[in-house]
């Protein structure tokens, strides 16, 4: 079977958050982009967990080829990382991320999948940690006519044509089955992704992603037209009015309970 994992390069969300907490997160002159060069770029964490889910299927005995595809100006670093982890094929469709919305991204990914032999299982992260939109997997599913199962904490195969997914829901875990081909989105509950071996990491330096242009995969310009575009990004301000209670643990605890009782919060 063929598993395709879709991955996105994002700004490290922890670094973005550190800048935000320190009140130093800045938007560039274009009014849209976070420009701090100190913020590293890396593979979206949920996408790495989607790749981990694919690798676990293979560990569990599935005879599967794993293809990893990304869009962007130059995602070679994250694709090499995917190769080091065990991907059989890494591919890059060049496109300017600033001009893409969820529809255009899904159009590219679906066209790449279709033009390279299709997929039995498409695995994606539940959402990207930059825009948090999480719409691309559902849009890929619609384009390819595949069912979409979201927020997996575990993925396994039942026979050769069915996938079983344990979904995280507000009411607890739910077990579902769906016939292949299907799209499954993976969440952090699947656990920490593996590290590449040192040898494979070294070899990965020489790995070159296949490059496929949007024209080569059969996309017309109209299919890349976004339905939404980003006009502005801003850093919201948080106005604190925190009353700090001190005088040592016992006194502060007592003062806190008194205030909460006074406010009617207890």
């Amino acid at each position: 079977m063929r598993i395709v994992v879709c991955v996105k390069e994002v700004l490290d969300p922890d670094a973005v958050n550190s800048f935000a907490v320190a009140g130093r997160l800045a938007i560039g002159d274009d009014g849209k982009s976070i420009t701090q060069s100190a913020i590293p770029r890396l593979m979206n964490g949920f996408d790495e967990q989607a790749l981990e889910a694919a690798l676990r299927l293979r560990d569990a005995g599935a005879s599967a080829s794993i293809a990893v595809v990304s869009i962007g100006s130059d995602p070679s670093n994250i694709l090499r990382h995917a190769w080091a982890l065990g991907a059989d094929q890494i591919a890059h469709v060049p496109a300017d991320p600033a001009t893409l919305d969820g529809h255009a991204s899904a159009a590219i990914l679906a066209a790449w999948i279709r033009s390279t032999g299709g997929a039995d299982l498409v695995l994606c992260g539940r959402q990207a940690s930059d825009d948090d939109q999480g719409v691309v997997p559902a849009l890929i599913g619609e384009r390819l006519g595949m069912p979409v199962v979201t927020i997996a904490r575990a993925v396994s195969l039942v026979g050769s044509d069915t996938v079983r997914v344990t979904r995280v829901t507000p009411d607890g875990d739910e077990g579902v089955e769906v016939s292949l081909p299907a799209v499954v989105t993976v969440s952090n509950e699947i656990g920490t992704p593996r590290y590449p071996t040192a040898a494979r990491k070294l070899q990965a330096r020489r790995a070159r992603p296949e490059v496929a242009t949007t024209v080569a995969i059969g996309l017309a310009a109209a299919e890349l037209a976004p339905r939404i575009h980003l006009v502005r990004q801003l850093v919201p301000s948080v106005h604190g009015r925190c009353e700090l209670l001190d005088g040592g643990p016992a006194a502060a605890a007592k003062a806190l309970v008194e205030r909460l009782a006074r406010d009617g919060a207890l």
Partner: protein, 330 residues
């Protein structure tokens, strides 16, 4: 006149957050010169029309097909697509939930329509719809402009919004929409239904949540004891779930439970936006953290700077004493 539609389905009830979404929709409808309507999929729960009127909806469209229920995404997407083709609404608003995060973008794919999730505001500028959505877990806000015609599909983050009834409630025109759903078969088979394990964090009035600052797995007991002393539930930030210290059902935050308690006590939690997305709507936030510069203090009403292992036991004692006093009085 074009319509801003708020969509709801549920098990015998309207969707959680439908009131906040109607308020959001009314502001947008006013800006767009459109009418506000409520679209109810599945059996219409009692009181739906009255509620719609309270929030200024002029219409209530009902599709009382038994196929339309939670856990039936294929039927929901098909019904919504047919309803949109029949009525051509200007915008379709969903109170965001785990299921909406699947159904709304699939519908957008089916219709080729614009879609924005995590919306916190929407307005019209120069005839174009502009939607503000939280990004980077809330560290930034992104403003998107919708291109072209066709319905704009928005998932609304209702936790950050307030429900605002109109001054003079109206009576919406109620009508049934008849759709053809008989060919739809769900492709996803539930083989092990979710078992709601006791009370949910989403419903808790008091939550005490622990974070990395607890330092060790066994210290989570402090959080549980304080929660018990305050008559609430224990929660956690994502690192504790990732470490396997606590079950994922306890995770508060962007990718966990989105809560709205009266009181939220954050113990050893730094206050990253991804976490705050799950608790910022709490009425009162209390922060206990050893780092006086932690972001959590910006969100908190009360804070104690210090070692949570010293403070929390004192807090448990003070809360228990307070309870004992109250019981004596009554």
């Amino acid at each position: 006149m074009s319509t801003v539609w708020v969509c709801s389905w549920g098990a015998g009830a309207l969707a959680r957050g439908v009131e906040e979404t109607l308020s959001f929709g009314r502001r947008l409808a006013t800006a767009a010169g459109a009418e506000l309507g409520l679209l109810v999929l599945g059996a219409t729960p009692p009181g739906a029309a009255e509620l719609a009127g309270r929030y200024g909806a002029a219409t209530l469209d009902a599709v009382p097909d038994p196929k339309l229920a939670p856990g039936r995404p294929d039927a929901l997407v098909e019904a919504l697509a047919q309803a949109c083709r029949a009525r051509a609404p200007r915008a379709l608003l969903f109170p965001q939930s785990v299921e909406v995060r699947l159904v709304a973008p699939r519908l957008a794919g089916r219709l080729g329509a614009a879609v924005v999730m995590n919306a916190i505001d929407a307005t019209v500028e120069g005839g174009k719809l502009r939607v503000t959505a939280a990004a980077y877990g809330g560290d930034t806000h992104a403003v998107y402009e919708v291109v072209g015609d066709g319905p704009a599909i928005l998932g609304v983050s209702t936790m950050a919004l307030r429900a605002e009834p109109v001054a003079t409630p109206g009576t919406p025109a109620v009508q049934e929409l008849s759709l053809e759903l008989s060919p739809v078969e769900e492709r996803i088979r539930t083989v092990e239904p979710a078992k709601a394990e006791g009370p949910r964090l989403e419903d808790a009035a008091v939550i005490v949540a622990g974070g990395r600052g607890l330092g060790a797995r066994e210290h989570f007991a402090l959080v549980e004891q304080l929660a018990a002393a305050l008559g609430g539930m224990a929660g956690a930030s994502r690192p504790l779930v990732d470490e396997g210290w606590v079950d994922a059902s306890r995770q508060v935050g962007l990718t966990g439970r989105i809560t709205r308690p009266a009181l939220y006590v954050a113990v050893g939690i730094s206050g990253a936006s991804q976490h705050m997305a799950g608790c910022a709507a709490a009425k009162t936030i209390v922060a206990i953290n050893k780092d006086p510069d932690a972001a959590i203090f910006k969100h908190a009403r009360y804070g104690i700077v210090g070692d949570c292992h010293e403070i929390v036991p004192e807090l448990i004692r003070a809360a228990r004493e307070r309870r004992a006093e109250l019981e004596k009085e009554s």
